[in-house]
Symmetry: C3
Subunit: 342 residues, 3 copies
Amino acid sequence: MNLGDIAEKIGGKVIGDASLEITDVRHIESAEEGHLTFLTGKKFLDKLKQSKASAVLVDSEQEVEISQVITPGPMLAFARLLDQFHPQSRPKPGIHPSVILGENVVLGKRVTLSALVCVGDNVQIDDDTVVYPSAVIGSDCSLGKNTVIHSNVTLYNNSVIGNHVILHAGVVVGADGFGYTLDEKGRHVKINQIGNVVIEDNVEVGANSCIDRAAMGTTLIKEGTKIDNLVQVAHNCTIGEHSILVAQVGIAGSCELGHHVVLAGQAGVSDHVKVGDQVTVVSKSAVLRDLEGHSAYGGIPAVPLNIWKRSITVLPKLPDLARKIRDLESRLNDIEKKKSEE
Amino acid sequence: MNLGDIAEKIGGKVIGDASLEITDVRHIESAEEGHLTFLTGKKFLDKLKQSKASAVLVDSEQEVEISQVITPGPMLAFARLLDQFHPQSRPKPGIHPSVILGENVVLGKRVTLSALVCVGDNVQIDDDTVVYPSAVIGSDCSLGKNTVIHSNVTLYNNSVIGNHVILHAGVVVGADGFGYTLDEKGRHVKINQIGNVVIEDNVEVGANSCIDRAAMGTTLIKEGTKIDNLVQVAHNCTIGEHSILVAQVGIAGSCELGHHVVLAGQAGVSDHVKVGDQVTVVSKSAVLRDLEGHSAYGGIPAVPLNIWKRSITVLPKLPDLARKIRDLESRLNDIEKKKSEE
Amino acid sequence: MNLGDIAEKIGGKVIGDASLEITDVRHIESAEEGHLTFLTGKKFLDKLKQSKASAVLVDSEQEVEISQVITPGPMLAFARLLDQFHPQSRPKPGIHPSVILGENVVLGKRVTLSALVCVGDNVQIDDDTVVYPSAVIGSDCSLGKNTVIHSNVTLYNNSVIGNHVILHAGVVVGADGFGYTLDEKGRHVKINQIGNVVIEDNVEVGANSCIDRAAMGTTLIKEGTKIDNLVQVAHNCTIGEHSILVAQVGIAGSCELGHHVVLAGQAGVSDHVKVGDQVTVVSKSAVLRDLEGHSAYGGIPAVPLNIWKRSITVLPKLPDLARKIRDLESRLNDIEKKKSEE
């Protein structure tokens, strides 16, 4: 493909040499001659000028010597071109002879069940879905079209997985929620968890993350949400559409998150908390109360982000402040003493 | 079952219609006609009044129109009834032909070894225990009666698992503790971890949690303790009876926790720390020193909970306080200056 | 072996009875008669005096009644002796009949592939390497010599694992990094992750930890680094040589850690951060900015450790300080009021 073809494909405009042959797409640092890269912000302009790339995707014309393609979303265009230049390989369709199939399993077209996959009874797996080696699909599960289940994933019974979903290795969907009540002798009695998990279309879940089944009803991950590695989603949560849960986030039971929520790494949310649409919570924060939408928060406990940012600048100065207060007290004591002596 | 039968079974007293047919037990929000629900605190009374439930378990008579069963522990009664109305299904006993058995494996009665389970040498598995697909039981392990090992669990060699234990998918028991010492050239030399893990009766461990083997001796999880998902228990820890470790808690090496300890989500405990009986630590806290029993703690580092609660209310006001101190200083300077001029 | 033999082996000097027969090596608490233990610091001297050990490894002569071996590194000597007295058992070399092998797999000498292991195409596994049951090795991977892959590990395609590496159960190497960009409709579009993971020699990775493949290029774990359980290393990170990542640490994308870095439990590092050589970060800390080497840090956000230590002593006193400020204000108001009335 030459640069003109690429511009046409992504709906962009060439400034420079449209006949330039593009052999790969790359990040600024690793691009070589013949490669197309992308720019996402003026601060990388210096890096771009040092890059060996032959062309660049930009959102507005830049003063650079290489050819440019102007497009409103350079990174989005890059992501799509990456898919073209490096199409994801998929194992061939078919059922490996070592697969263990339960009764009444219904498979769509071009399904791949890799070696040592185990599928329970009454499972439905739709067209083009791929299950990698050693994954376990419990009974009464359903998987949509074009979904990918990686190795060593466990789906407990009754899990419902949508279309174009990716579950990375070691993910556990539908383990029992953490629910107990004390008996007369102070022992924890298990409350049977009879609900399930539903994961909607276009969700991706990172390696070794866990999404517990509901106590009753459904733990729900809505369309387009992306979950990173080692994330915990407890029973009866609803995670809204197109949200982002970064690695090691933990969400306690019965929370409701809106759409386009972003929880940064290692953040936590207490049980029964509602988080509004388009909320961002910075890393390490603890959300203990409901948060209104369209706003950013931080801290333990989480407060509006600007407040948290100002307060953390004071933290290292606390010993100084404490000393100053002691000093002020002593000076004020002196003044008051003199007053009373007057 | 009618309401009278239920009351008799749980030792409760009917107020209302004992002949009422009960078709299911449900939470307040999802209960329908014919269902029995439960009330745990006055604050849910409004929800109960809006519920479609036909009857309710309560600890004292309430002013509601539906029938009531009075019992000292409504939630405990509910948990037991749930078990009756929704008995947990178990796979049929038997050894799937794909199971790989080591030498000298001794199986009790009605044991289930599901597809693709791998069992090492010299393993003992007692009556009614179920192992789900693709779990790996190392050599010289023993599993008690009526225990459930879910898919993709790994038990390293020499692990001892009690009766009525549940290990959820992806749990790792007995991996090496994290022990090294530096050599002359600044390289970490592994200290072989030759101990094991013992998990006593009635313990439940959540998905993808890890309990490391002891360096020497035993990492011990005592009876009745419940561990949530993605929890880390390091080598040589002892977790007391009937304790609760919520998701993503991390406990460093050689800690001793008492009985009925509760560590909320994402809390951490430093190595060699002793936590007394019936201690509660709130989420996100860092326990760096021994904690006396029968008390609650919070913060990084953890302090008595009431102190932490008061101090976090001040955190967002720190910039204001710093400004006020500057203001006080300047006013005091003025006064002192005038004094000296007098 | 008698004590003289041991001293010779480790290059130490006996004070006491060189002919003493040593039957095992043990920690101070669990040592019995005939056992050799070690002392690492004066504070354990009392414990040593109460120990039943017959001999002790010390770095300088101690006033104890039992025999001593003086060596500059008692713990290092202990680690090496432990290896002698308790050699780690390894499964016999060979390919279990249940193993699933792809095309063009090249195996070195004395390789062990245990039951239900699955190996993809074009994989190379070098001499003496052991793969435990149910591990999955993706296509185009290479494993060095004398490496150990535990059960239920997943290596995605193109992973490169060095010599003498240990990957504990449930580890996931090479899952997709967490990279998306928004499209015109606010949906997250996946940026294909076309890089890989390289793990150098002598690295150990704890149970259920995750190391993501690079977006492009390589996520790199350098020689001798030790990673504990449930740790997250995101795409495009470089972790320097001989570093220590304690349990539940999370490192966001594109970070560069130097050599001999120590991140204590549950610490986190934001994306694109550089951490200098020999940096120590205490548990629970959040590293949001680059850290200079050869220093220690703590806090959220992380600041130099001595500053953090002083500021956390003030935290519990914040309510008192706030009250004192109000009090000072009121007293100052009084003084100013009187002044103005004069």
